[in-house]
Structures are given as structure tokens and as C-alpha cells.
Symmetry: C3
Subunit: 153 residues, 3 copies
């Protein structure tokens, strides 16, 4: 019977779980930022979200687009495009029995690149900071993906 590698007693898996949780948690952090910007600018996506009324009963906020809200939403979308595949590929990657040190650095660099990406996007820091952090994260995923493909092919 095959060895069970998807367990916290496998140190590679424990590192993978830790950095996956950090990355998903970081992704959730953008949500209150978007909500805050919607309320502070009075910009909502749906009619029923506009709750506040002035004395005459007219809505005091509007359904529309606000650049700071959209910036948060683009960040969230970019996180989905990167953090979800990272975790999915990671499950396969852990099963290719990578070296603990090599694997941990893949996970660490990915998680760190996504934190830098968010800071570069939301502060914002001038380019190419965001482009580079995106590229570094994508690079670690391509490396993991390559190892899964060569292992399974």
C-alpha cells in the first residue's frame, strides 16, 4: 500500500497547509477593504444594497462604479486566478515527494509574492513591483506544475 503523504505528519504537507491557509486568509483580507470603500464612497453594485435615505426618502448612495472599489475587486479577482491554482497544484505537488527544503521555499516564496502583490496593488506602489510579484508567484506555480506533469506523464 502506498505511503500516506496528505497528512500533517508529513512535514512537506504541513508547510503546504500553513502557506495555503496564509494565502487564502490574505485573500479574504481584501473583502472588508472593498466593503469599506463601497460604504465610504457610497457606491454599490445592487439597488437593494443602498440602504441609507435622506429626510425626503431618497437614497443617499448610488449604484455605480468607483475606481477604488474596482481596484479592490481587480485584486480579489487576481488572487482567485493565482491562489486557487496554487492550492490545487500544491496537493498534486506534495504527492510527487519533493525535497522538504525545496518545497517549503516554493510555498514561502509564493505566499510572500502574493502579500507584496496586494501591497503594491492597494497602496499603490509604482510598477514594476506588482508585475514582478505576480511573475514570481506565477513562476513558483509553473515550477510545481512542471514537476507534477513530469511525475504523472
Amino acid at each position: 500500500m502506498a505511503e500516506n503523504l496528505l497528512t500533517f505528519s508529513n512535514p512537506v504537507f504541513a508547510q503546504f497547509a500553513y502557506y495555503s491557509a496564509i494565502s487564502i486568509g490574505k485573500m479574504f483580507a481584501i473583502v472588508p477593504m472593498i466593503v469599506y470603500r463601497r460604504f465610504s464612497t457610497g457606491t454599490f453594485a445592487n439597488k437593494e444594497d443602498v440602504l441609507s435615505r435622506d429626510k425626503k426618502g431618497n437614497p443617499t448612495a448610488k449604484v455605480g462604479i468607483n475606481e477604488s472599489v474596482e481596484r479592490g475587486r481587480r485584486n480579489h479577482l487576481n488572487d482567485m486566478e493565482n491562489i486557487f491554482p496554487f492550492v490545487l497544484i500544491g496537493f498534486f505537488y506534495v504527492l510527487t515527494k519533493p525535497d522538504l527544503n525545496v518545497a517549503t521555499w516554493h510555498f514561502r516564496v509564493f505566499a510572500f509574492s502574493r502579500i507584496v502583490h496586494m501591497l503594491a496593488y492597494q497602496i499603490p506602489i509604482k510598477q514594476p513591483t506588482r508585475a514582478l510579484s505576480f511573475g514570481v508567484g506565477m513562476g513558483t506555480m509553473l515550477s510545481m506544475l512542471y514537476q507534477v506533469l513530469t511525475y504523472s506523464a
Copy 2:
């Protein structure tokens, strides 16, 4: 060798698989709603999607934006932002050996909150129904995420 927990013979995992499948299936249910609204309002995203022609050969539908279509798409996007991380975190959470009862209620409350969220979004029901159902679902995920982090750290 470590115990194998990612199997249907682990009751926590069986519950997790069941509510994950329910949540992903619910997510797919929004797709035909969006397609139906595109056809009934004649609003498409791509030129080549406009198939119908009048007698003079002019398209009878248009490429554009329709609020009821967008409402469906926003719901779909919100599902991706929540249901995908739920399933991803769930795999790690199951491996932290949670109590069956506690875990099942996490999965059940999450799946239920997403069904309420969709109903509140698509009927639509007035706020704060949708905001609350979103918050409850996010709360169950944060609880699972916290347990994964404390277990792996």
C-alpha cells in the same frame, strides 16, 4: 504510518464531500439562469453569440450589458470567491481531525448560507439578508481556517 483521513470511510470526510458537492452543484445552477437571461433579453457578451437575424439579415440581439444578466454574473463570481476556498480549506480542516458533530455543522451552515445567499440575490430579498448569509458563510470558513493555522503552525 499516518492514518488515512481523506476517504469516504472517515465520516467527517463523507460529510465534507457531500456538502462540497451540494455547494458546487448550487453554484452551477446559476449558469442556466444567466444563459436564459441572455437569450430572453437578447444581450450577449460576444459578437459571434448573436445568432438570430431578422428578414433583412440584421442581428436581432445585441452585444451589451443587461442588469439581470449582471446580477447573475455577480452571484456566480461571489460563489467562486466563497465556495472554492471553502472546499480548499475543507481538505486541510478534515486533516486536523475535528469532532464529527462540530465539523458537520460547519459544512451544513456553510452550504445553507450559500443557498440563502443565492435566493436573497436572485429574488431579490431586501438587505441585510444577503449580507448576513455572506457573513455567516465567511464566518464558518474563518473558523475552519483558524483551526488549520493553529494545527499547522
Copy 3:
């Protein structure tokens, strides 16, 4: 103790890992296409992305919307809506101990349908090619989802 099925020594899992990696890799392929179109049309999503300046120091590109960029982005979003749930459902499906031949064809048809979908979207090929490839991919997922639900319920 339960048999360990989430391992490359399980041929169903090895096939699943292979076609998942192919599908996620295909999804990443759209990214450089979007970046290329942003630069070739000079259309960016964020102010800080517009780096190039003319002799007078004015930006030579603009923040805005370009149809070819949007076509790439819609493709990417559709991939997320389909490839992520495929991999998530796949993990559960592998654990239902499907027949190797049946399972491999599910994975193969899904991955192939998503490649056809991308070609139909980006060339573009006239409808109903894209709609059919989307439907075929969704069909394989619904079949897998059904088996997970009946196995876990």
C-alpha cells in the same frame, strides 16, 4: 484502515493529476495573451501600469477597455468557473473508486473540451463550437458530481 487512493500509484489518480495539470496549464496560457493585447493596444486597467511616455512626458497608453483584452479576460473567468470545480470535484470522484477507463475518459474529455473552448473563443470560431465545448465540459463535471453525491449521501 482505508486504502490510500490519493497517490500516484493509483492509476485513476495519476490520470486525474495529469489532466488537471494540463487544464490548469492551459488556463495560465491565456495570461500572456491578455498581457500582450494590453501592450499592443496600449490599454491598461490601472494608472500605474501606463509606463511609456512621449517626449513631452504624456502617457502614450490609456486606462480603459479594449474588446480583445476583454475577450481574453472573459475566457480566463470562464476557465476559473470550470477548471477549478473540475479539479475540486475530481479529488472526491477519485475516492469513489471509479473504473479506470471510465474515469480517464471523463478527465480526457474535460481537458479536451476546455482546449477547444479556448480556441473557439480566441480565434474566434463561429458558434455553436464554443457553446458545445462548454456544455461537454460541464457534462463531464455533472457526471462526476452525481457520482460523488450518490456515493456520499
